[in-house]
């Protein structure tokens, strides 16, 4: 069973539909006990960083996510959910994140770029990761975001993407994974990636 954390932000149903398609049972939940009992955890999210952190705090969900990262259970942050894993963001002022992966979140600044970065872009695979097993290097994934992560540790970057600058579009540190793109909306390659994640949830 995979827990999709419901903290009032994000398109949770599309994540659940995609997990169902790859044969994984999942539950959309805001219950810390249910999250702690799951085989794997997905932290989705869209919208503002500060509001997401506020909602996680109000829902007493910060600790359970942080504990998941420490107890070896696979954890996948998607889009804003990935950004929340980091130490801090400068979206609407400086805000602390979950601090699971050291690094920060900043806005695209190149003035000639359209923001949000919206649409299909290529991921160049960096360090090998089980998450990308069966996914070709340079495969297109669907993005919709205005901020991106800068991990302190370059080894955490498993995928990078060019949009004015080269940014970390996928990260992996131990049992913790982050995808700046939306695998649940990225067609066949996205489903392959989710299937890989689900497989890790079963074996761990």
């Amino acid at each position: 069973m995979i827990a999709i954390i419901d903290y009032g932000l994000g398109n949770l149903r599309s994540v659940q539909c995609a997990l169902r398609r790859v044969g994984a049972e999942s539950v959309i939940t805001s219950d810390a006990g249910e999250i702690a009992a799951a085989d794997g955890v997905v932290l989705p999210g869209v919208g503002a960083f500060w509001r997401a952190m506020e909602n996680l705090r109000k829902g007493d969900l910060m600790e359970v996510v942080q504990e998941t990262s420490l107890n070896g259970k696979p954890l996948l942050g998607i889009c804003l959910g990935m950004q929340l894993l980091f130490s801090e963001s400068d979206e609407h002022g400086r805000h602390e994140g979950l601090g699971i992966i050291p690094g920060k979140v900043k806005r695209f600044t190149e003035s000639l770029l359209k923001i949000p970065h919206m649409g299909w872009n290529e991921i160049q695979q960096q360090n090998p990761s089980l998450l990308f097993e069966g996914v070709g290097d340079g495969a297109f994934f669907y993005f919709a975001h205005s901020y991106y992560v800068i991990p302190d540790e370059p080894a955490a970057v498993i995928g990078s993407t060019d949009y004015g600058t080269t940014f970390a579009s996928a990260v992996h540190a131990g049992n913790v994974f982050g995808a700046q793109f939306h695998p649940e909306r990225s067609g066949a390659v996205g489903l392959t990636m989710l299937r890989n994640f689900c497989r890790l949830c079963q074996t761990d």
Partner: protein, 255 residues
């Protein structure tokens, strides 16, 4: 590098796909979920469903449709038509839509744009602008029309586009009423003017007759995405035809 997007649009009435010329003379063109799935398999980058159902009661079918599409299709899809409250937006996004598009309600109730953007993120908010060429004292301009292209607003399209960006829209879907359904090409000047005025992505809509029209609007028109209905629904061109043509002309598209 970010790819230019090709987006089939499905006008949905009472749960069926229809497409007309300049918003009249609708013809039935199939089941929305089946059509969506086929387009997704064929390489469409996104889907847009526009609900043109008239009655409030029948509108509930669009929620069910959003849920069915989310179950079967794993590329982004936008639902528009009749979204006038935050509750409408929440319903569609919770059902699995990636974005909602707001047209008439955005003009009548501007704070709605900001409200939805704050609740669900800018990327979830598409403002649809229906533009009609008008002759003015200082030359040609484009006027914003609402209520399915029937009602002039007096608003200048360029000014309105800038305003919706400030209000929190994440994207603009720009339809030329003059070109829509005529398959004689997009309004390139309109698209270029709006793309130069805003820094959010713009989806060009209205007038696609073939791949060469899409090439023109994505290059000269500077659009980020090209939307089409008729040419895809009636099989005049496939998504692959369009993408091959664009690729051969140096446009970066998703393979």
């Amino acid at each position: 590098m970010l790819a230019k997007r090709i987006i089939p649009c499905l006008d949905v009435k009472n749960g069926r796909v229809v497409k007309g010329r300049s918003f009249v003379n609708l013809r039935d063109a199939g089941d929305p979920v089946e059509a969506g799935k086929q387009y997704s398999d064929a390489g469409a980058d996104e889907l847009v469903f526009l609900d043109i159902t008239a009655t409030l009661e029948a509108r509930k079918t669009i929620l069910a449709l959003a849920a069915r599409v989310a179950d079967e299709v794993f590329i982004p899809f936008t639902i528009g038509g009749g979204v006038s409250t935050i509750a409408d937006a929440r319903g569609l996004l919770s059902a699995g839509a990636e974005k909602i598009s707001i047209n008439t309600a955005a003009v009548k109730n501007k704070p709605l744009i900001t409200e939805v953007a704050e609740a669900f993120g800018n990327q979830a908010v598409v403002v649809a602008i229906d533009a009609k060429r008008q002759a003015g004292k200082n030359g040609q301009w484009w006027e914003v029309f609402i209520s399915a292209g029937t009602t002039p607003t007096g608003l200048d399209v360029i000014e309105w586009a800038k305003e919706v960006e400030e209000l929190g829209a994440g994207e603009i879907m720009l339809t030329s009423i003059d070109s829509d359904g005529h398959t004689a090409g997009y309004d390139i000047k309109l698209n270029a003017a709006v793309n130069e005025a805003v820094s959010i992505p713009v989806i060009a809509s209205g007038g696609a007759g073939g791949p060469e029209d899409m090439l023109t609007v994505l290059t000269e028109g500077k659009a980020d995405a090209a939307l089409a209905a008729s040419i895809f629904h009636y099989g005049t061109y496939s998504i692959a035809d369009v993408k091959d043509y664009l690729r051969n002309h140096g446009v970066h598209v998703r393979s």
